[in-house]
Each structure stands twice: as C-alpha cells, then as structure tokens.
Symmetry: C2
Subunit: 147 residues, 2 copies
C-alpha cells in the first residue's frame, strides 16, 4: 500500500515521509471527510510526537496539488477528503454517517447557458454539495437525526 503513496509523493516532488504517508493512508481509509483535528487524533496513535501544524501544512500542500480535496462545511469546519476520482464530479454527503460518495452527475452545461442567457455572466467554477442519507443509514432508520 505504501508504494502507491510513495509513487504519488515522488511524482509531486514531495519527500516521502512517514507522516505524509500516514495522512494519505488515514484519509484513504476513511472514505469520509475528516477535520485536521480528527486526523491529528488518529496520527497521535501512530506517532510518539506529531504537531497539529504538521497536519495543517501537509493537508494544505496535498490539496494544492489536488491529491486530496478540501471542503468547507456549512458548520464552518474545514474538512479534507481523499479523492481518487480526478475528473469533475460532486459529493454526496451522508448526514448521518458523514460518508461521502462521488456523484458523476453535473449540470454545468445548463448552468452555464442559464447564467449566460439570463445574467450575461460567465461561469468559472461551481461547488455543489448534496446532503442526504446513504443506503446504509436509510436501512438503519437513522434518517431523521439531522436536518
């Protein structure tokens, strides 16, 4: 498993350090958004000493290079997410278990036309976050816990 991360890091001209690999590993195995602090908590179980700034610095670097994604939740928490899917897509976030699935649906073309036609503006980027309940949580009947 490490080999993959090493390859990724090497290709980005980032040094291969145990902590970087651990961060990627944690994010990859969560398949959910994690806050820097949550990642830190997990890191502290693996390393005798880790600083929170290291987490922030690495997350920022990795997201700048598009290896992980960064999301600002409506609750104001910053979250990071490992996203192997490099093409344009959106996220379906489960309000109950906070798991994330990629949605390949995107209405960018229609959006672009609408904005051009009605507003005479030009769309550069868009962020779509879809909240709901995933298959598992629907089955477990955990669906009315949150908004």
């Amino acid at each position: 498993m490490n080999t993959d991360f090493s390859t990724i890091l090497r290709s980005l001209n980032l040094k291969i350090t145990p902590k970087r690999i651990a961060i990627l590993d944690i994010l990859m195995n969560e398949s959910s958004y994690l806050s820097p602090e949550e990642i830190w908590t997990r890191m502290k179980k693996q390393f005798r000493s880790v600083g929170l700034p290291t987490i922030y610095r690495n997350l920022e670097e990795l997201s700048e290079r598009n290896i992980i994604s960064k999301v600002t939740h409506p609750n104001r928490q910053l979250y990071y997410y490992f996203c192997a899917n490099r093409s344009h897509h959106h996220h379906f976030v489960c309000l109950s278990c906070r798991n994330v699935e990629d949605i390949n649906f995107c209405a960018l073309d229609e959006l672009r036309r609408e904005v051009k036609r009605k507003h005479n503006g030009k769309v550069i980027s868009h962020i779509l976050q879809v909240n709901g309940y995933c298959r598992n949580c629907l089955n477990k009947e955990g669906k009315d816990n949150e908004i």
Copy 2:
C-alpha cells in the same frame, strides 16, 4: 424603508431595535455577501458604540429565521446575505466584485433521480454556489484577477 424591516422583525417576535434595522439595511443595500466584520465596520459609522458580538448574535438570529442567508465561502470566511427571494434558488457570485445574483435554475430533480438510481440514497438538501464573472466585470475586463 424602516417600516418594512419593522414589520419583518415584529412578525418574528424580535424587538425592533435601531441596530437590527441597521443590519438589515446594510445587507439589503449591499446585494452582496458581507462578513460579520464588514458589517461591523459599517455599523461603527452609524453608532457611537457597537460590539462585534451584537453583530454575530443578530446575524445568527436572523439567519435562523431565514430572513438572511448564511454562506461559508471556500476561503473560510463566513458571509451573510439578505435574500428577498424566499423560494429555492442558487447564487451566482462574481469573483471580481463579489456581487450576488439569484439563479433560478436548479437541477434538483435530476440530482435526486441520480442519487436514488446509482447510490440508493436520498437527497435532503443541496448547496450550489456558482462562481464566475458578472456582466459588469466582464465588460470592465476585470475577469482574470481570480481563480
């Protein structure tokens, strides 16, 4: 003008105070997202003394009652926006002047179908923010300043 705000506040069982009215007034006349601090700056021009906590408290109350909208920008700043349009819609934010226009386009139905069909999940809410350049800024050629 004040009368409108008074009516709104009365209907929400909020007391009509000069500061509340001023906040609504500022937001209404900006037709753009403002951060609590930006609102505070404007408030200080009108009142001999205002505390930032008052701004936060009022913004929170007003947005809980859906009189104004709250947005967390990707840059991590919290913004508030007066939104007279009470029906479901999205925002087109100009990356240059930060002005906001309502977009009536929404792909909720397709989104819902996609999530049901491919993920077996249920969509509860979604947030779509469209960034781009508005008519004015396109004309002024200010379009390549930002992402």
